[in-house]
């Protein structure tokens, strides 16, 4: 559905995207992650046809969006800026964009707008000027605008930015619903790792214009995340003693102590091996648990690794 092939973009001699390639299949929710300035928005702008690549190609449904205006009828966009007009009401904003996207039948358009306002919880504010809306309400309206023409592909740039937790859940559910029920392909630019972890089927991590990882969340965790254990001991003295023992074990690394708690990375061995070693040394272990690496850990590992390489 979305194909990016060897994309490179240079601005005034500075390369901001370096030969990146990835593919998003139909119906997938694709998370595009990376620190500020990594090139996420530039990638999105090139795919949307707002910027021309220096080299490489970006296709949506096999075509270049920059060269095909009709194709944009099948694409919904929620950019970093909400793209809504302060002087128009919520209804007028949706009505304007719906007309631009070719919803010419007035009755059908009205029905669709009412439905959208209802789905984002803005029905009772339909006639209020958007200038009076909170950031969260604007974001919800912008999301409604982005899906007003029932697009097949949806580009979302930080959709939950500025939203309260309840609204974030609403957005998440809406995105999942669009993907599951309508088969919409979603390209999600986000900093919110929790959100990405919950909804994305596949992710790519971008750093300094290069894709550092591209896979499913599960595969990335398995590939990059070595098994970790978290050990709780009776007191800090016992923890200190345990730390010395753990540091001497060849299959344990990256030990960190926080008061009576120790976190460590283990290789090959089971956590029960650690437990028996500690018990043999007379240390009372209150709790030992295996911790799965979160997407946040994976992301930070990749980004930090990338930073070291760049230095």
């Amino acid at each position: 559905m979305i194909e990016v092939q060897n994309l490179t973009k240079t601005f005034n001699g500075k390369t901001v995207l370096k030969d990146i390639s990835f593919e998003v299949k139909e119906g997938e929710i694709f998370g595009y992650l990376g620190p500020n300035g990594a090139g996420k928005t530039t990638t999105m702008r090139i795919i949307l046809g707002l910027l021309n690549p220096t080299s490489g190609n970006a296709f949506v449904m096999g075509q270049n969006l920059g060269e095909n205006e009709e194709l944009r009828n099948k694409v919904g966009v929620l950019l970093e800026d909400d793209g809504v007009y302060d002087r128009l009401s919520a209804y007028e904003n949706l009505d304007y964009y719906a007309q631009l996207y070719g919803l010419s039948d007035g009755v059908e358009r009205k029905r669709r707008i009412e439905e959208l306002l209802e789905s984002v919880g803005l029905s009772d504010r339909r006639n209020d000027k958007v200038g009076r809306f909170s950031k969260g309400m604007r974001r919800k309206l912008a999301l409604a605008r982005a899906i007003s023409h029932e697009p097949e592909v949806l580009f979302l740039d930080e959709p939950s930015s500025g939203l309260d937790p309840e609204a974030q859940i609403m957005v998440r559910e809406l995105v999942l619903q669009l993907s599951a029920e309508m088969g919409v392909t979603i390209f999600l630019n986000s900093h919110d790792l929790d959100e990405v972890q919950r909804i994305c089927t596949k992710i790519a991590i971008l750093q300094s214009g290069e894709i550092k990882a591209h896979d499913t969340v599960k595969n990335l965790r398995d590939k990059t995340g070595r098994p970790r254990v978290e050990i709780t001991l009776s007191d800090s003295k016992a923890a200190e003693k345990a730390l010395n023992i753990l540091n001497s074990l060849h299959f344990v690394s990256d030990c960190e102590r926080d008061d009576s708690r120790i976190a460590a990375v283990i290789r090959d061995e089971k956590s029960s091996t650690i437990l028996s070693v500690l018990m043999r040394n007379g240390i009372v272990v209150e709790e030992i648990k295996r911790v799965t690496k979160s997407l946040e850990d994976v992301y930070l590992d990749i980004v930090r690794e990338g930073s070291k390489q760049n230095e």
Binding site: V77, Y85, L100
Partner: protein, 234 residues
């Protein structure tokens, strides 16, 4: 509805809803009209008709261009400054459709204020004059053809500049245009002193200039690109 008209309608609605700008327009329409009264009252009977048409000739045009300048800032400049233009560029409209819609949407209200000025000037002129005052055929052509063409060309050029340039360059250009408008107003007023009378020739020359400017504006839009607009958003 044609998508150009959808954009134009939205822009007109936005302008009309911006009370401060509408009040400025109405204030100038009234002020320019009131300025007609002392002229037609004090000037000799034989020169009243000529003076009245001279006033119509430059006040209506100047106010139209001033309103075009004022409204263009809101429609092109603010939309870019607020980043809304980027979302608009993702819609299934060509750059030319967006630009044309905005030009039409600004030209119509600016021209309506010009027309209102012409109507008020005529009404007030007749109140204060002993003669019946109506625009001459050349002035009628000027009001109905030259003025809208000039307004459209001004909006088009301003829109082109706002779209193409960055915020700082736009602010500098805005100041220069503002100065140029007032300079032109003073210059025209000087030229029209004495025996000057608006002729078919003058109107014809202005019409040709307006058409050439419109053609230039349409030609210049070729140099607009989505990339240029997006990369100059602050």
């Amino acid at each position: 509805m044609n998508k150009i008209l959808v954009v134009a309608k939205k822009e007109m609605k936005g302008i009309i809803k911006t009370k401060s700008q509408m009040l400025v327009g109405l204030f100038f329409a009234l002020w320019f009209s009131v300025m007609t009264a002392p002229v037609v009252k004090t000037v000799e009977e034989s020169a009243v008709f000529v003076q009245f048409n001279n006033l119509l000739f430059y006040f209506v045009l100047m106010l139209g261009i001033f309103m075009a300048y004022l409204f263009s800032g809101r429609v092109f400049f603010n939309e870019k400054r607020e980043g809304i233009i980027e979302t608009l560029l993702c819609t299934p409209l060509s750059l030319r459709q967006i630009w044309s819609g905005k030009v039409v949407g600004v030209t119509i209200p600016a021209y309506l204020i010009s027309l209102l000025t012409a109507a008020l000037m005529t009404i007030l002129g007749n109140i204060f004059s002993t003669s019946m005052l109506l625009p001459s055929p050349a002035i009628a052509l000027h009001i109905f053809l030259v003025v809208p063409a000039f307004i459209a060309a001004a909006v088009g050029l301003l829109g082109f500049g706002h779209s193409l340039l960055g915020m700082r360059e736009n602010q500098i250009i805005n100041l220069l245009i503002f100065g140029a408008l007032f300079g032109a107003l003073a210059f025209t007023k000087n030229i029209m002193k004495g025996d000057f009378a608006v002729s078919w020739m003058a109107v014809g020359v202005l019409l040709i200039i307006a058409v050439l400017l419109l053609m230039l504006t349409v030609y210049l839009t070729r140099y607009l690109s989505r990339e240029r607009i997006v990369t100059s958003i602050p």
